[in-house]
Every structure is written in C-alpha cells, then in structure tokens.
Symmetry: C2
Subunit: 331 residues, 2 copies
C-alpha cells in the first residue's frame, strides 16, 4: 500500500506472477461477422474460459496466495461466480474454504461449490444475520474473509486481465481502443483500468451495466456514489447496489462514461457469442459485447475490446437467448 492507494500497479504485476501457471491466459477472439455488426473491429477477452467459468478465479487465487502462512482457511459470502472461484482456488492451495449461501440458492450452485471442495454453510435470509454468522465462523475457525471486490488483492488479481489485454492487443496491432468491461462492484473494472493506465495508457476503460442497475454509470455521471434499489435481475453476476469503496475512486479517476444495455440486448449478445465465437456467456458476462454491438454510436475508435467475463448460466436462460432473433438476421 502506497499512501492512500490500496491497490497499485506493482500489486497487479505481483498477482499476475502468482497467477502464472495457475490461471488460464484466456484468448482474445474475434469474428468478421461481429466486426460488421459493430461497425469496427471487435476483440473479445474470453474470461468465460477461465477456471470455474469466470474471471473470479483470478482474484480469489491472488487473495489466497497473499495470505500469511498462519491463515487456517478462507470464508466468502456468495452464491455465484465468486463462490466457485474461492472454492476452487482454496482447494488448489490446499486450504479449507467456507462459503456462506442463502438457503434458497439454486441447488446446482450449491452442488457445484461443494464439488469444488468447499464447505457450504446455508443461512435463512429472513431469520439470520449473514454477516454475524460469517464473523462468528471466521473467529471460531481462524478463517480469512475474501470479499468479492472490495479487497486489494482481489482487485490486483482481476488486474491481470488488463495486463493480458495490453499484450494481446499489441500482438493484434491494436494501438488505440476503448475497453468495455462488464461491471458489478467494480473489481474487474478497476483492476483492468489500473493495469492499462501503465501498460496501454491510450486505452480507455468503459463500464457496462444492465438497465436498472446502472449505479456506476450514474455515479460516474454525477461524480458521487449513486445506489440502485437492491433486487435481483437477469444479469445476476453484476447486479450490485453501489460501486465498491476501494473500486469507486479508481473508476472515477480512470473510466469514461458508463454504458447501459437492456436485458434483451444482453440475451441477443449471448446468441451472437454462440453463433460467431462458439462461447457460452452468461447475461452479466455478455453486457460488454452487447454494448459493442448495440451502442456503437456511443463508442469511439476503429477497434473495441470487450470482456466476456463469465459463462455460468442456467440452461433455460441460455435457451431463451437462442430463441432471440439472430442480431445480424436483418442485415
């Protein structure tokens, strides 16, 4: 930590070093069909191919490998991608992981998290206080809490995506591009922004959120933190009430105007990724591609880079996406 900056570039390169040989270096994909629809070259950073199906493994591994040797295990609150990332990273590291989930979480998510080696502790959303339960468990068992985004080493780990984007863009001959990032609490966004600030300062990060959950876009527009009402949505992976305490100052300093897409546009982007990239994306992992395709007038430059941040989507939702009309059918 340098002064009041809780995450810096050196922490990102150190996290990337710890991730080497453990995280996948995901490919940067493209398709002439996407270029035509978007009106510029489109490059897709396929983090859905990361271990456990989302970028979250990076932050989890980064945080777990930065723990002191005295750590006896980790604990996290999540029923989604963060849970799977923490569970798998801890099991690879040989550390116990406790994941706290609401009792009404989908059975498949509970089963997957257990299968990745974690102990799942269920709580009742109405009758129990999640934070108190977690704090008691952490104290009893000496577990370290891994926050999903407001954790310096988690942000540093997600920043490794930015280092790879800079290198892969250079290899593709991309000099200048906006980088669209699927944005929930801002861990991935702020990590990538800090990495690109040093390695590709001509690139600008733009956040992409679903309609109704555009707390970051509104915060960026007004210059102060704006909250969404807390509720669930199709893009469940990135439905968060407000930008994080650590991530917001970074986003405010480094990001351009926030982009917003509809749920239907996210579904249509999923269908495009299916048709043109052979990738499975979840709705929250498809919003950046949706913005590249459906908000082309709000983007600048000859090329755009989008993060495809995750692919953990229930089959019925994916089938809904495939039932959408092909986005290029009318061209």
């Amino acid at each position: 930590m340098v002064g009041d900056v809780p995450v810096n570039f050196e922490m990102i390169t150190a996290a990337a070093h710890r991730l080497k040989e453990h995280a996948r270096r995901t490919p940067l994909l493209s398709s002439p069909f996407l270029d035509r629809i978007a009106g510029r070259r489109v490059f897709v950073k396929a983090e859905c191919l990361q271990h456990t199906g989302s970028f979250k493994f990076r932050g989890a591994w980064s945080a777990i490998t930065a723990l002191p040797d005295t750590a006896r295990g980790v604990i996290a609150f999540s029923s989604g991608n963060h849970a799977q990332g923490v569970a798998y990273a801890a099991s690879l590291k040989g550390l116990p992981a406790v994941i706290i989930m609401p009792r009404d979480a989908p059975a498949i998510k509970i089963a997957n998290t257990r299968a990745l080696g974690a102990e799942v502790v269920l709580y009742d959303r109405v009758l129990e206080d999640r934070d108190a339960l977690g704090a008691a468990l952490a104290r009893e068992r000496g577990l370290e809490l891994i926050q999903p985004f407001d954790h310096p080493q988690v942000i540093a780990g997600q920043g490794s995506v930015g280092l790879e984007i800079a290198e892969q863009a250079r290899a593709e001959g991309i000099k200048d591009a906006q980088v669209l990032v699927c944005c929930g609490g801002g861990g991935l966004t702020s990590g990538i922004a800090l990495a690109l600030e040093q390695t590709a300062p001509q690139m600008q990060v733009r956040t992409v959120e679903p309609e109704g959950f555009d707390d970051v876009a509104q915060s960026l527009a007004t210059g102060q933190v704006v909250e969404n009402p807390t509720r669930s949505g199709l893009c469940d992976a990135i439905v968060t009430p407000r930008p994080g305490a650590l991530t917001w100052p970074v986003m405010q300093r480094l990001c351009g105007q926030g982009l917003v897409v509809s749920d239907t546009e996210a579904l249509r982007a999923m269908a495009l990724a299916y048709d043109r990239l052979k990738l499975v994306l979840e709705p929250g992992g498809a919003v950046a591609l949706a913005a590249a395709v459906f908000r082309r007038d709000e983007i600048e430059g000859d090329a755009v880079i989008v993060t495809a941040s995750g692919g953990n989507v229930d089959r019925p939702v994916f089938m809904d996406a495939l039932a959408e009309e092909a986005a290029d059918a009318k061209r």
Copy 2:
C-alpha cells in the same frame, strides 16, 4: 513428397509456419468435473474457437498458401465447415473462391459462406453432376480444387493441431496420453498422427466416429477399407462414406482401435462442454469428448486429450443437447 509418402513431418512444420499469425493457437482446456466423470484427467483442444468455428481453416490456409503464384482462385465442394474455412482463407489471401453447394443446403450456411467472401454456386443434386460442374468452372476460370481431406497440404495444415497438442501437453506435464480425434475422412486424424509420431511418439491417436458411420473403426479392425452407406446423420461434419485415399494408410499405420459413440452420447457431450467448458460444440465436434466420458473402459492411461473440432451447430440442435439430462446429474 518423399517416396510414396504424400505428406511428411516437414510439410506439417512448414504449414504450421505459414499458419503462424494467421490461425489461432487454440487453448487446451480442462475441468475437474470432466476429470471426475471420465475417471482420468481430460484435456480438450478447443478447435471450435478456430477462425470460422472449426479446424478446417488450418487446412484451407495451408493449401491456399502453398499454391503457385499463377493460381487465379480456388474451388471447393462443401456446404459445411470446409466451405467456410476455404472461403475465409481465400478472402484473407485476396484470392477468389467458388464454393459449390447443393441447392437445398441450409440458407444460413449459404449466407455465411457468401458473407465470408466466396461466390456460392448452387447445383441440383438430382439433375446435375457436381463434379462435372466443378471441373468446367475450374477449367474456365483457372481455379485450383481444394479437397476437404484428400489433399497433402490440407492434411499438413490440420497436422499443426498435433504440433500444438504436443507442446501444450508438455506444458501441462502430460507425459503419456491417448489422443481422441473426431474422424470423418481422416484429414485431421492423419495430420495429428503424423505430427505426434515425431513430437510425442508415446501418444497414440484414436479415431472417434458416430454409430452407423464407423467406416474408419471397421477399416482399422479388418485391415481393409470398409464403406458406410452414404446418408446423412446428426454428426454431419464427420459423416463420410470411407477413409480417404491419402489418409487411410497413415491411420492404418499410426492409429489405435477406433472408438464409436451414439448420437445421444454426442448430444450429452455437447451439454457437458456447455456446462463445464463454456464451449459451443457441434455434434460431430463432440464425439471425442463423448468417447472420453462414455467409453472410459476402452481408453488407457491417466490422461486423455480430445479434439473439440468444431462448433457450427444450428440452434435447434443445440437446444436439443441442452434438454439432455446433465451427464453428471446421477453422481
């Protein structure tokens, strides 16, 4: 050409050199869930992420870049992955491409091939002689025919997949493994087998075909070329009547016993690739993964490598696959 060997290792390394910077080096993916179901480590070479959604781009680019400078264009007979591979490779190389397709080919395949820059010539399966039509066009316009598998430079190009498998397996610490290859005419299989013979001789290639189209498995078992009745099937990309004239001697010399899976098993493997790898596979591109999962007793070793050779699948077929019960649901 050395003696009567129409493809050799040097041609494969030369093709790989021409492909560098043009083809994607596709990732070798894995999932602890697949390992558990298969009873050994499973590594998936994701050629569905190749340009145009299948490995066919490699052979097409290899063949087109080996043409004499006097070539005025190329011609191919295909309504599938080979058509798209040839069309895109020719357009990148700035050469005209004519693709001959039956008039009743799916509209989306015709549209995709045209969108990739090729001229599509349609013929009537009943009234017209495809080969005569192609020969006349080739003569008139000075076009070179690119066969889908019985072409030395096409086989050499597909062999680049084998070079990458050898390198990526080494990086993963895999010393010994059977390599399961989705097999139609045998271009990919024989290319990979020739590449591995030199770079990873401890690895053995096994062909995988759909039930009812197991001409290669039967030919390998009997030692002489066996034919299937010509008809269509779910695994359309690899439904061929007999092994190729150039590919058969290579397969006979280098491949182990052929594996055969059912259409339902191919669909269930597609669902597994969706759940666990976030990849879109077509039925013919999923048979090798199906064999790893559903024929575990017919495979040897602690690790198995499977090719996921393509992902061009119509949405209704993919939705059928997602409607299959999860292969690990009973575990």
